[in-house]
Structure formats: C-alpha cells, structure tokens
C-alpha cells in the first residue's frame, strides 16, 4: 500500500502551497482518475454545469495520491435508505421551577428579601453612581441563581431596574429574565415592553441582545410579540443582529412551529443562507433550517424536498467555495452537510476532495474529523481510493491524538480505533503508535490494546506480543488483565502461534494470581482452536495447583482442561475428586457445571479411578440449589442410566477445532457505526438508535424508525459461514455499499436482505462453553442439531405445544406486493389501530436466532416482511399483508425481545374494521413459528 504514496511524502504539503493560483480559477484535478492525469490545460471537471469549485489559493495541485486508481466501477448512484418516517416532534422542555440548593451554599429567604428591598429603593433613583450599586445587586442575584437559590421573587424589581442605558446591567437583567420567564409567564409580560423597545435601539448590540432575550423567554402565549421584532431583525443591516435573529427563528419554532411557519421565516432563512454576506449568519441559517426540517414532520413531503435542495449541487458548491471564510465551527457544519452530498461523477468527488485537502491540516480536531468523514463517504464506492484515503488521514489523526488535551485526543483516538478495526492491514506498520504510555488513563489504554490486537500480523506479532507482556506486570491490574487477553486474541488470530504459546505458558509461571487466571482461560481457548498444542500446554497446566486458582472463569477453564485431557494428565481424576469433595464451598454455579461435565468426561476415559467421584458429583449436583446445576446433574444421571455409550456420545463426542470465535459485534452494527462517523456512536461503539431518542439523533439523521433496520425482503440469502472471513477490502465498504453489491447480484429486487452471519449470534458461552465445545457446529442456524443444548436451555422439555389456532376467518393474498416507499407513506399516514403484546412460545424464540427463518415462516402465512433488523435480544420487523379479495393493506411493526419472549405488535390498517381478524391471523402465524 505504501507504494501508492509518492516517494516525496511532503507532496501533500508542498507544491500545493508553493504556487498561488488566481482567485476564482477552477480547481485542477490532483486526485484524478487514472488516465486523465496527463491532459494538458486546466481540467475543468465540472464544465458541464454552471457551478465550479473555486479556490483562492490552490492553483495547481500536484498531489499524486489517488492516481494509481485502476479498474474502478463507478456506480451511478449511492443507494440511500429510502424508508423514512418523519415524526412530528412535540417537545416541551422539562423545566423545574426550583433546584435544590447545594448544602455548602449560603441560602436563605432573608438575603433574597434584603436584595428585593434594596432593588426597590434603587429602581426609581437617578442618583449618581446608582448604576454601580445596581450592578453589585444584580451580580448578587445572578450568583444566587447560579448556585440554585430561587430568586424569581425579585422579578418585578429586576425589570423595574432594567430601565437603564448601562449595557452590563442590561445583559445581567436579560440573563435573569431568560432564566425565570418560563416559570413566571405573567411577569414575563412585563419585560416584553422594554425588550421590544430595546429591539429598536440605535445600538446594534442592544438590538441584538434584546432580540436574543425576547426569543429566549420560552413562553407560549407571548409568541405574537416575537414575530415583528424577528422579522425586523432578519432584515437588520447589522450582521450581529441578523445572526441572533436567525437563531431566534429556531427558538420561535420550538415554542410555536405554526407561528414560525405562518410568518414564513423558514423561507427567509433559505434566502439568507444563499445571499447573506456574513458567514456566521449563513452558518446559523444552516443549523436552524436543518433542525426545523428534521423536526417538521407534518408537511413531510415538502420537508424532504427542502432537504434535497439543501443537498443539491448549487447549495453545496456555494458553501464549499466559501468554506475558508467560515469559522472553524461553521466549517464543521458545512462539512457534515457535504458528507451527505452525492456527487454526480468521480470527477466531482476529486474536486471536492482537492478543495478540502488542506482542511486535514487544521489544528482543530473537529474540522479534521469532519473532513475525514467527507473523504470516507465520498469514496465508498471506489475501493482503491477509499483505501488511499485511509493512508492519507493516518498522519493527521495521529498528530491530533498526540497533541491537545487527553480528552481531545481520546475523541480522535476513538475514531482511529474504528478505522483500525475496519482496515487493520493499513495500520499494521504503525503499531508502535498504539503502545500504551504508563500515565495514560485506562479508557485510552483499552482502545490501544484493541488496536494492537487488530494490527498484529506475521511481521509485527513478535514485537507486539513482547510489548503486551510488559503490560502484564502492570500496576494497573485491569489493564494487565486486558493485555494478557490481547496476547491470547493475537494467538487465536495468527497461524504461527509457536512463540505466543510459550509466552502464555510463561504467564502461568509468573505466580501472580490474576495473571495465572487470565492465562488459564486463554490456554483453554487456544486448545479449542489448536488441539495440537495440548502436549505442551498440559505439561504446564498440570503443575498448577487448583488451590491457587480462585476466579470462577479460570477455575472453570482449568476444570475443562482436566476433563478434556484427563487421559494425558495423570492426576486428573484425583484433582477432580478433591474439587468435588469441596463442592459445598464452590460458590460459582459455572464452576460446578464444569465440574459435572469434566468428571463425566474423565469417567469415560478412566472409569475405575473416577467412578466414585462421579457418583459423589451427581449426588451433590442433584441436591444443588442452583437450577441449572441440578438439571444438568439430573440429565447426566438419566443419560447414564439409559446407556453409557450414548451418554459418552453426547457428553464427549469427537470434536472439531473451532475455526473462528464469535465476534461480539455484528458487521451490520459496525457498518452502521461507520456510517455515523464523527459522532458519539464511535465513542460509545454503538449505533445512535441504541442511546438516543429519535428526536435527538441530530439534523439529517434519516434513520427514523424503519430506517433503523435494514431493508429486507423475502429473498433472504442463505447464511454463508464464510462471511466471517470476508476479505479485507470488503471491510472497507459500508452498509450501503454492501447492499448495493448484493443488490446487483440479486436481480429480482433492488433491495436485498443483508445476510445474517453466524458471527453475530451471541452464543451463550458463559454457562455452556463446555458443551458448546462438545458440538462446535452449533450456531444460530442449527438450533435443533443438538438436543443437549436445547435441553439445557430448558426449551424442549416442559413446554406443551401451543393449542392449534382456529382457522383464520380472514383470507390474505399470498402474492401481496408493496414497495418500501409506499409502505413508508402508509405507515406515516395511518393511525395505529391495534397495539398488543404477545408471548412467544419458546420454540419460536429459539428459532429466532436466525431472523430470516421468521421472515420465511411469515411469508408462508402470506405476511410479508419489508424490513428487519436489530440484534439479540431485540429484533424488529416490519410486515405487510393484503386481503385476498381487495387491496386493503395491513402494516405491522413487530418488536421481539428474545430474553423476555415477548412480541410487541403495532398494526395499522387501511380497513380499520379488519384489524381484529388480522391480528388473530398474525398471532396464530407467529405462534406457529418454530413449531415442527
């Protein structure tokens, strides 16, 4: 990859700044498509349109970065999620009239009353120096306000005192009024007068301040007084006033959207956005319009048209051409918008990137990350260029990580972490940057450890593992543990584990209890993947006294190895015997479960030595108060009673080595986080729908309701176990891209279901690891393959089959068709006619490990799925169905929680009267799911 970079690495820096271009000249292509590079003359990429990117400083870019682009398939469009439901948001800000004053602060009615009297005395006074006394009193009031003392009782006096020309006094008064108007709407009326007067003051500062306060009153019945001053403010010849007026429009929208729209303010903002000379006014228009449109659900078609205009070429180019005039914060705003822009062709993409190239050298990390997002989003469809973007942004991001405060560097590091996890091979030579420093906070070290694990490859593993081993003796024990786990993970992802196994075994000999504990767990996992190492490991493990191992996970691991390798470990039956004797003292159910299994396995291999312990273990297990332990003991007991050879087949069958351990996060989730680059999703490592309410997802976050779940159709792909080992390039693509690729393969439909790979199914390893091993093929798609597991989950035994449903009175059209857009529209228009919660039967829940199964099942019942998503334990589906004889449609939102075995159903119907019958059809269909 490094070969893509020019030998002279200062190129990105060099000539670009050396040659000054004339103002207004169209930009030249530096990042260009291979082949066009040598064309003489100014390559005006956008000549076909009347818009071009102008660039003041950069005349000729000699960047050769993206020149080695070969075989690029240019998509004609980037698919975006089309299913959007817009919700009108009615949000009353919660407001408490009083805050409890903190105990350390002086509080008291006495002081407030005192201030009140003094203010009253000053109100009418015209004595010299009265303003100074007023200032002192005002300060006192505001300091009370800050520490939480309720000073709303002096409202009247404050307003009386505010008739002054002293701007400092005015400002304090405005601050006070803004804070208390909401709880004193009647008193707020008092302020309207003087605020309105101030809005016409000669001094633009006062006009602006008054307007800001007026709009901050947040009192619904006063909105009529806002319209006039706001309208004047938007037309004010002073940019400070306009800037405040624009924000005022947004405030008004929050108080009364209809007043705001009736006054046609959004239209004025649109005009200002494209015409105002002041960039902060423009920036505020952009913020305000985005927020207004993301809230405005009622006229949603109009709104989506407005959004499209905002993302149209003229607007985007207008903003891009002025980007350097904007403040750094406004630049972030513009860049965030540009990241959503869909350029018409690759040339345009390169134009935008060339223009923004120097933003990557900004000292403000927010600007750099916003630019990075633009680059990543724009190049999604061009794998090679996309990869080069990674190379390009590496250095700036690393610089940001090491400059600035620890907090800022953490925010950038989280994003770097995301990129490293996506494309570890690109960062494999930078591993030293991810070494932990002793004084870094744990949250930074944790990220770095994961990055080190990810970038380890054949060439750097030795050094990385050496470094990690240093951390194992770290004073920070949680980090020491994670370091050992990291060594283990590297061992599991490498082919040549020779050296690593030695290191792990050295950990076992370090005689630090937590090191031993972590190492034991790792050795166990290692043996599951590389059984060929058993000889070396067992020799060391055999020397560990079980008395020195106290942590349940470690103890369970040790016991598992004792059972699994009881043939090779001479003492195994006797160690197990000792452990069983102390059954009562063993507090962890996990350990007791493992003990049962291990002693069974040992029994099959060395019956005479184990028989006694087995009896004791089963007896203790049957008497155990823990349900799982009891059940497992009972199960083993009956198995043994039935036939010992069958018991052996069940408990200790021949094993296959585990090839890949389940990933904790599904790739779908990861893609979603990537699509939300430069947001909190990256820091939390969760998509936004998991931690925000939809109204707060920020402007232009289209992922409402249906958008949250990926578009799916009946044409569910079969699960491909190899998906887990998707090639590296694939990892660079985001959801939309993958969907597109698959869409091409699947000509029957423009949309296709994302294949639900087995890795996303979290196998409940904690309790069952011993048994999962005994059947490594168990994963979500084969729940019935091992009845042992079903048994222990308590699923297959005591549940009586659900009563057969009565024949449905409603006939559904099995070939119903509905496209996603119409679904979205209908969903928006129709009211909910039924909302219900069903209990699902356990078989259904178990079968849900592959949601596709439910889709197929429901389709068999003439109920079609249009979208599905989520992850265990919450799954969400959108279904639709049509009556057989007429075109009346039913829409269903179904949220299944597998841990509570509940399904929440919302039904919307064209024909409300048919809701009940449909509901029973739906319920019966659902209840049959998972039944043989």
């Amino acid at each position: 990859m490094t070969s893509h970079r020019p030998a002279d690495c200062s190129a990105h820096f060099g000539p670009a700044y050396g040659l000054a271009g004339a103002e207004g000249q169209p930009i030249r292509l530096g990042w260009s498509v291979f082949g066009e590079d040598n064309q003489p003359g100014p390559a005006t990429s956008t000549s076909s349109t009347s818009f071009s990117l102008q660039n003041g400083r950069l005349g000729c870019f000699s960047l050769k970065f993206f020149n080695l682009v070969s075989e690029i398939q240019w998509p004609t469009f980037r698919p975006r999620l089309d299913l959007r439901v817009h919700f009108r948001l009615i949000m009353a800000p919660p407001w408490q009239s009083q805050r409890s004053s903190s105990p350390s602060q002086p509080a008291g009615k006495g002081e407030v009353a005192d201030v009140k009297t003094q203010l009253r005395n000053l109100a009418g006074s015209r004595a010299p120096g009265v303003d100074d006394s007023k200032r002192e009193l005002f300060k006192k009031v505001i300091s009370y306000m800050t520490i939480g003392i309720d000073v709303s009782s002096v409202f009247g006096e404050m307003v009386m005192c505010s008739a002054t020309s002293d701007i400092v006094l005015k400002k304090m008064c405005y601050l006070y009024v803004g804070n208390y108007a909401k709880v004193n709407p009647d008193l707020a009326l008092l302020t309207i007068n003087f605020l309105q007067r101030d809005c016409k003051d000669e001094d633009p500062m006062i006009r602006g301040l008054a307007l800001r306060s007026l709009c901050s009153l947040r009192v619904t019945n006063l909105v009529e007084y806002l319209v006039g001053p706001l309208g004047a403010g938007l037309k004010d010849n002073n940019s400070y006033v306009r800037m405040i007026a624009v924000m005022g429009v947004l405030k008004l929208y929050h108080i009364s959207a209809s007043t705001c729209v009736d006054a046609d303010f959004p239209t004025t903002l649109k005009h200002l956005l494209l015409n105002d000379q002041d960039t902060q006014v423009v920036a505020n228009c952009l913020s305000a319009l985005q927020e207004i449109w993301s809230l405005g659900g009622s006229a949603s078609e109009e709104v989506s048209r407005e959004r499209e205009i905002l993302l149209s070429k003229p607007v985007i180019y207008y903003l891009l051409n002025r980007i350097r005039e904007f403040s750094e914060w406004a630049q972030c705003l513009v860049l965030e918008l540009v990241a959503k822009y869909v350029p018409a062709d690759p040339n345009e993409i390169f134009d935008v990137m060339n223009l923004l190239e120097d933003r990557l050298q900004h000292a403000n990390g927010a600007v750099v990350l916003a630019t990075t997002k633009v680059f990543l989003q724009l190049t999604l469809s061009m794998t090679d260029v996309h990869q080069q973007v990674y190379e390009r942004i590496k250095a700036p991001l690393l610089t940001l990580v090491s400059s600035g405060s620890p907090e800022q560097s953490y925010a950038v590091l989280s994003h770097l972490h995301l990129l490293v996890m996506r494309a570890p091979f690109i960062f494999s030579s930078d591993y030293k940057h991810f070494y932990c420093q002793y004084n870094e906070p744990s949250y930074v070290k944790r990220l770095k450890l994961e990055m080190l694990t990810a970038v380890a490859n054949e060439s750097n593993t030795y050094e990385i593992v050496t470094e990690l081993c240093e951390y194992a003796a770290n004073v920070d024990i949680p980090i020491a543990r994670e370091s050992i786990r990291a060594v283990g993970k590297i061992a599991l992802q490498q082919y040549d584990v020779n050296a690593i196994v030695d290191r792990l075994l050295q950990f076992l000999e370090m005689e630090k209890d937590y090191v031993t504990a972590e190492a034991l767990v790792l050795v166990k996992d290692l043996l599951r993947k590389y059984p060929q190492w058993s000889q070396d490991c067992i020799a060391v493990v055999g020397n560990i006294s079980s008395k020195n191992v106290q942590e349940p996970k470690a103890k369970a691991a040790l016991i598992w190895m004792l059972g699994e390798y009881s043939q090779e470990m001479h003492d195994a039956p006797y160690i197990l015997e000792g452990l069983i004797e102390n059954w009562e003292d063993e507090h962890s159910a996990e350990v007791r479960l493992h003990l049962l299994t291990a002693v069974m396995k040992c029994f099959f291999k060395r019956p005479p030595e184990t028989q006694k312990s087995l009896g004791a273990a089963l007896a203790a297990g049957l008497a155990d108060f823990h349900q799982d332990v009891h059940d497992r003991a009972l199960f083993y007991y009956r198995l043994l009673q039935y036939k010992i050879s069958v018991a052996e087949q069940v408990v200790n069958p021949p094993k296959q080595a585990v090839s890949v351990f389940a990933d904790t996060q599904s790739s779908e989730i990861k893609d979603r986080i990537f699509d939300e680059f430069n947001s909190l999703s990256v820091v939390y490592q969760k998509p936004s729908y998991m931690f925000t309410y939809k109204e707060h997802r920020g402007p232009f976050e289209f992922s409402d309701e249906i958008g949250n779940v990926s578009i799916g159709t009946e044409s569910a792909d079969t699960v491909d176990p190899n998906r887990v080992e998707a090639n590296d390039k694939d990892l660079l693509l985001s959801t939309s891209e993958k969907e597109e690729t698959r869409g091409l393969n699947n000509s029957s439909s423009a949309y296709s279901a994302p294949s639900y790979d087995a890795s996303s199914v979290s196998v409940p390893t904690s309790q069952l690891s011993g048994l999962v091993i005994s059947n490594p093929s168990v994963s979500g798609n084969a729940p019935q393959s091992s009845f042992a597991i079903d048994d222990l989950l308590g699923l297959g035994l005591a549940v009586a089959p659900a009563p057969a449903p009565s024949p449905p009175p409603l006939k559904l059209n099995p070939k119903a068709v509905l496209d996603p857009t119409s679904f979205q529209q209908k969903w928006r228009q129709l009211p909910i006619s039924l909302s219900q919660e069903y209990s699902m039967n356990p078989q259904g829940v178990a079968a849900l490990t592959t949601p596709q199964a439910l889709l197929r099942h429901m389709q068999g019942q003439a109920i079609h799925c249009i979208a599905s998503g989520g992850q265990s334990p919450n799954f969400k589906f959108f279904f639709f169905a049509q009556k057989a004889e007429e075109s009346s449609t039913f829409l269903v939102e179904c949220v299944v929680n597998t841990s509570s075995a509940k399904a929440q159903i919302k039904i919307k119907a064209d024909d409300q009267s048919a809701t009940r019958p449909f509901s029973s059809v739906f319920q019966s269909a659902l209840s049959k799911f998972g039944m043989p």
Binding site: V168, L175, T399
Partner: protein, 451 residues
C-alpha cells in the same frame, strides 16, 4: 449542538451554570458529578471524557482542576464538543488572565457574558477572543495573586534566564496594566513533550516528540508576523511506517512526521523558506502542532537495577545521567518506581553531598519516589534503596517492580532542534520595536525505563 454548559469546582460546586435549550433536566450537574466521582467502585479508574446517563450525553474536560462540562441529547461530534470546552477555558483565561476557581468566581458575570456570545441556543457562534472583544462589556477583575504566582505552562519558563517574565503571559488581553499603558510584546513558546521508552538493557524502544508552537500576542493594531523555522525542516517521512529510524541523527535536518496549523497561518512561503505568515489574533493559541519520531538524543539516561540482597531483602540502584549541555538546568525532576507488593520498608542512601533531593516510600501503592530540585547538564545522580520484604512467599522481584518513570522540565532546551530562526513584525514605523520573547521548554510526557 449542546444543551447546557456548566463549570464545577473540584468539590462539585456549581461555579457557572448556563442552560441553553432546556432539554436536559436541571439536576444534571449533580448527576454528572456523582458519576465522575464514582466511576468505578474502587475509585481507581478515571471516568472517560464522554458518557451517557439516561439518554443525556455528558462531555467534560479538566482544566486546572476545574470541570468544564457540556450536556446534550443529540448525537453530536464528540471532538467538536470537547474542543469547544477546551476553547471556552482558553477564552476565559484570555479575559481573566489566569484560570482558577477564584478568578472565575470573581468574574462570573463576565463569564456568563462570554458564554452568551460563544454559544446561542446550543450552537457555537464564535470562540475567537478577538471577535468577542466587541461584544463584551464587563471589565475583568484581575486577581492580585495571579500577577505573582502562576500555575501551568507559564511557570515553566520562570526558572530560566532572568529576562523571561513568566508573569507577563498571565495578564488579561483586555485589562490594562496597573501603569495604564499596555506593553507591546509577543510571546512565542516552543513546548515539546517527549515520550521515550528504554528497554531493560538501555536501548530506546520508542521515542516521540509532540511539540507545539504557542503564541500570545499583546501587539496593538494586529500587525502581520513572519515566523521562520529551520531551513532544512522536512515534513512527512518514511511513508506508511513512521518508525524506521533513518540515520539522520546528527546530520542536521529536522524531519517532522506530521504537523497541523492554526486557522490564521498562511503557508504561501512555507515550501520555499519555511516561514509561517500570520496575523495573530488576540489571546493564546497554538500556531502549529507537530509530531516527530525521528531519532533524537534523550535528555536523560536512566539505569535501574534491583537485586536480591539476602533473605527477604533487596537493593535498588537508580542512576540518572543528564545528557544535555552544562549551561542548561532541568527543574522539578521526579523519579518513580513501583516496588513488589510485599515490600514493607525501604531505606534510602543518597550520594554524598546531595542537595535538594527527597526520597520517599509510599506504602499505600508500594512506590519509591525520588525528587530532585535541579539537575545540571552533564551531571550524574545515584540513589540506593534497601528494601525489606514481608516474610511471605514472593515471586520474581524483577518482574514485579518497575518500570521506572520520570518527569522533568528543561527550560530553554528542545530535543527536536526545531527552532524559530526569526520573528518578524511587519509595521511601518521605524521606532516600533516591541518585545519579542521566544522561549523553549521540554517536558516529559511518558519517560520510562523498564527493568
């Protein structure tokens, strides 16, 4: 877009509280403080700068012990909010001169005034001290104590040569000096934080310099400034891998891995003569941040040894070599070394005639601490410590002790050899000759020797 901003003291008291959007319940400051204080039960782990409690996202940065906090319900850019908080701290510092709880409490009305102009309805309007000047009417109340003592980076230069007026940088950008007249001066500080890890055999495993050129201008009329750096300065090295040490050490060329610049910096001539042109805005700001992994000579070498000395006893020998010129002095050097958990006592032996050195054994976290007030370039210092262990079983003492870490400040020294060759102020008048301070300092970031 943020919902609230507040400033908490170390004890969790509200010093400033501003609600911009009324979306987050009012108890947020208490919720936040409790969460930060008790992030993990054992109190060992620091709370991350960003976390979510009941759908509210809390951002915080710590500046001189104060907590600058923002809340929001929206899924915003974490970088933007954290950067903003840092910038708010800087703007306040520009106004009140020195940032601490006292100065903010004295000036809280001014701080509210600033906050109203910096943020409107949760959206950032401006953080430029320069632009804010025209909107701000409160006069800062400058603390008397601030003129005398100062904390933070300004203190770093004080022990250097006498002509370094450390206190000058703590003056407010708007307040007038007691004498009435404003002094025309400009400060350019080259601050380098170095990270070095030595292996147990004394080899350098990793090394990095994170530098920043910081400027604070008190020049009237905003003249243009030209800042010339080393002529042979190179930027970007070795393509993808930043760690292939070239044999450039000693050859003279300074090669940075990467750097970034403040908005106001123009790089028109940077390629040609390595000069940065800028019109410095008021207030303190970083002109340029840079990062360098090119090999450099570490200012200190550390030699650490621990060996058994009889039953339940061991001896530690720590040696420090100052490898910088003898006309330079390093200040406030502290050396720390974690000792095995079963250490119960330590007795120390300093070299004969040692002045200004302290030793301590912290029993709570089993750590050896060695403080040196001053280290003159070229000198060498040794500490011997005799450890007594508890009689219980213990493992490998080498594996259970260390690594040795060191913190220090070296004024008027920089490891990267990046230099400001000249600082030109463009102004017509011939008599105009403001004070120009160019100062260097090297700090230890993570300076570690393994055992």
């Amino acid at each position: 877009m943020i919902s609230q901003f507040f400033l908490l003291s170390q004890r969790g008291d509200n010093i400033v509280f501003r609600d911009y959007r009324g979306e987050v319940p009012k108890g947020s400051a208490e919720i936040f403080f409790r969460k930060v204080k008790f992030w993990k039960e054992d109190g060992q782990e620091e709370a991350p700068p960003v976390f979510n409690v009941d759908g509210v996202n809390y951002f915080h940065v710590k500046v001189v012990g104060l907590l600058f906090v923002a809340t929001t319900r929206a899924n915003v850019s974490p970088s933007l909010v954290l950067e903003l908080l840092q910038r708010i701290a800087r703007v306040i510092k520009d106004y009140v001169g020195v940032l601490n709880e006292d100065s903010i409490r004295k000036n809280f009305v001014l701080v509210y005034e600033l906050l109203d102009e910096v943020i409107d309805f949760g959206f950032v309007q401006t953080t430029s001290t320069e632009l804010l000047k025209s909107y701000i009417f409160n006069e800062p109340i400058v603390l008397e104590s601030a003129r005398l003592s100062s904390i933070g980076p300004t203190g770093l230069f004080m022990q250097g040569t006498k002509r370094m007026p450390g206190t000058a940088v703590t003056k407010s950008v708007v307040a007038n000096e007691p004498g009435g007249r404003k002094r025309e001066e400009i400060f350019v500080d080259i601050i380098e934080k170095i990270s070095v890890t030595f292996s147990s055999s004394g080899y350098i495993l990793t090394s990095e310099i994170d530098g920043t050129i910081q400027m604070k201008s008190y020049l009237s009329g905003n003249p243009e400034i030209r800042l010339a750096l080393n002529e042979d300065l190179g930027i970007g090295r070795g393509g993808g891998s930043g760690y292939d040490y070239r044999s450039s050490f000693g050859s003279g060329a300074v090669v940075l891995d990467d750097c970034n610049f403040h908005e106001s910096v123009r790089l028109d001539n940077f390629e040609v003569d390595k000069t940065l042109t800028l019109v410095p805005p008021d207030g303190e700001f970083p002109v340029m941040n840079y990062r360098m992994t090119q090999e450099f000579k570490p200012p200190f070498r550390i030699n650490a040894l621990i060996e058994e000395a009889g039953a339940h006893k061991a001896e530690v020998i720590l040696k420090i070599y100052a490898e910088f010129p003898s006309n330079i002095t390093s200040n406030t050097v502290a050396v720390q070394m974690p000792l095995p958990k079963y250490t119960i006592r330590a007795s120390f032996e300093l070299e004969p005639g040692a002045v200004g050195q302290t030793t301590d054994f912290k029993d709570a976290n089993k750590r050896l601490e060695w403080g040196l007030k001053k280290i003159v370039g070229g000198s060498e210092h040794t500490l011997r410590a005799r450890l007594t262990f508890s009689p219980e079983v213990h493992g490998n003492i080498t594996k259970e002790s260390g690594p040795v870490s060191m913190t220090f400040t070296i004024p008027m020294y920089n490891s990267s050899r990046l230099q400001v060759k000249y600082l030109q102020i463009a102004k017509k008048s011939g008599t105009y000759n403001p004070y120009r301070w160019v100062r260097y300092v090297t700090l230890a970031n993570s300076y570690v020797a393994r055992i």
